[in-house]
Symmetry: C2
Subunit: 219 residues, 2 copies
DNA sequence: ATATATTTTTAGACAAAACTAAAAATTTGT
DNA sequence: ACAAATTTTTAGTTTTGTCTAAAAATATAT
């Protein structure tokens, strides 16, 4: 598989999770910053190789083989992200770009050894689950901070938007994965929240809250 | 720079070390397992980018920029080889193939952090020197085992042929970098050697001896 | 010195992956 | 239901990097 094919497969996988079963040509083009005509060309090649199901004008979905391929790439991407943070002291806003390159390195032994070196991590630096060798992974039980009721208590376990700008914003405001969070007040007017995070009180906008995942303590 | 351009630059660098100043089109083609016509095409592109000096039919050589580029790639290649051996328990015959891929990853921060993680190694698993950030490196003082006189004593510091087959042969016969070597006898007839290696006596053929570098103890 | 052999370059083709512009199919609005 | 808007596909180019076959330059051998 070429690098480009792998990137398409990964994008189709991500778009297939959210939203509808069949992924639209335009959606792929937009996410990959390419043109719809290029997407159509590539989809045909992928269809030829039995990685996607494709009927023209009907959108595209991954075959079983395509799905397995996608999970393999995502496993590599996320393991490399952990490596960069844990072993090379990268910050969580710097890892994605490099992982985009590293995810295409082909060597089973390499990725298995990396997994062992990192002590088989289950989640990447953004709180996203890492598929195991066989592509299996459990989506962690979590909710957007913007969706939980007042007085909820939990721990911050992930980000929805993992852009560098958002992550740096969180750093600046001392918000990190693992922090204890209590929702003190939800402002009707603009949806902003008063929270207590690791003992410290602060106010965050609705936009911020809708990009933070927490695991609620259910007693 | 594209991956392919980088591979050409690296090959021209290696061929330029040994042998003559100007590198022949055919030599590049042979080493890269490609056709001479493809080489000519690429050389023109590299010349356009000021990475090589080229006058048709006169062979090719690296410019200052090309040289610096080559050293950067070789630095990455060798650091990754050290990483694979030291951190991921690869054997020295397994690292080259993966390093061929990893050497093309683009991130200064990545390679500097890797260098730090590995404690700034000076040599790769095959005894080849690792250029520093600025492309500087000192070729270690060493000689082929086949060229030193009888009774020489020294330490094994590198291999000339670093193919997996040769390296596995060395493993099988318990020969490794760092071993103490004494040349007991040189057989006139076939150039084979009787050596004592880490206290153990053995006989090795001329071919083997001419692919092992030793640093002779000069007293 | 001249014919022969070797090396290198050119010319023309091809595949991958992208693009633009235009056509075709589908969806939406009234 | 039908026109308009949107989405998707096709057709035709482009760039990178490769190839084969043929031509040109250089090296070698008698
Ligand atoms: Mn990422
Ligand atoms: Mn991630
Ligand atoms: Mn190597
Ligand atoms: Mn090496």
């Amino acid at each position: 598989m070429t690098r480009s094919e792998e990137n398409y497969i990964k994008t189709i996988f991500h778009l297939g999770r959210k939203g509808t079963r069949e992924v639209a040509t335009n959606a792929i083009a937009e996410l990959m910053e390419t043109k719809p005509s290029s997407v159509t060309d590539m989809i045909k090649r992928l269809s030829e190789k039995d990685l996607v199901n494709y009927k023209r004008y009907q959108g595209v979905s991954l075959t079983a083989l395509g799905n397995k391929t996608a999970l393999g790439i995502i496993r590599k991407h996320r393991l490399w992200e952990v490596f960069l943070v844990e072993k090379l002291d990268f910050s969580w806003d710097e890892v994605h770009e490099v992982a985009e390159q590293l995810e295409h390195i082909k060597s089973d032994k390499l990725i298995d050894s990396l997994d062992r070196l990192l002590a088989y991590p289950k989640f990447d630096p953004h709180g996203d689950p890492i598929p195991d060798k066989n592509g299996g992974f459990k989506e962690r039980d979590r909710e957007l901070l913007s969706e939980v009721p007042k007085n909820s208590v939990g721990v911050c376990v992930g980000v929805k938007d993992s852009s560098a700008t958002f992550l740096k914003f969180l750093d600046k405001n001392g918000i990190a994965l693992g922090n204890q969070i209590r929702v003190m007040e939800i402002e009707e007017f603009d949806g902003s929240l008063n929270i207590e995070i690791d003992g410290r009180k602060m106010q965050i906008s609705h936009v911020i809250a809708s990009n933070l995942y927490i695991k609620v303590n259910n007693d």
